[in-house]
Symmetry: C2
Subunit: 113 residues, 2 copies
């Protein structure tokens, strides 16, 4: 883990090397709490501690790590006084997950296949 977050040449997401953006994106999103964070910010900005509370008290260590990654990726920004919120990119990305909510509802009733 880099000591200074914004170092290490722009964003160093695994899969960036392949030149396939979708891989970089899937790798970033496929890290624990990343999807959850984006999801929890859907209603508006949250302070780091509010975000933690809403994320089952996830440890601040990893939350901070993910928030840094998401900030580097341009999905999240820290507005002083407001807390963490989604950027334009973040909201755009979130749009892709909205249908997931309804899907999850249907999927959760799958026992009786």
């Amino acid at each position: 883990m880099p000591k200074s977050p914004s170092a290490a040449g722009k964003h160093s997401v695994r899969g960036s090397r392949t030149g396939r953006p979708i891989m970089a994106l899937l790798d970033l999103l496929g890290r624990r709490w990343t999807l959850r964070i984006i999801w929890e910010l859907r209603g508006g900005a949250l302070t780091s501690r509010a975000l933690r509370a809403v994320c089952d008290q996830a440890s601040p260590t990893i939350l901070q790590t993910r928030l840094t990654e998401l900030r580097e990726a341009g999905f999240v920004e820290l507005a002083p006084g407001e807390g963490y919120g989604l950027t334009g990119w973040g909201k755009d990305l979130l749009e892709n997950f909205v249908p997931l909510h309804r899907f999850a509802e249907r999927w959760s009733k799958r026992e009786e296949d």
Copy 2:
């Protein structure tokens, strides 16, 4: 990790307890390689080894773990002779990620903000 995959009371995804399906889903998808696996199966079934090859030689240990989870979740199935493929649910889920591909392309060109 459960020795017998299909044991442990239906599906034991973190967040299931909350009764919010979206949490269970986000948790499942937010595990390393999960999103990638679903993505790589978009074109049709792959054998375990073909899948591994296409996933940057990810270790079979974790691939097997994820495949088991995805099978329990009902997104993936193993067809003898065919390999691993998406189920109806899996394809349905994948639909939600297709727009992500084009999004990733746009997002990857974000340097010059």
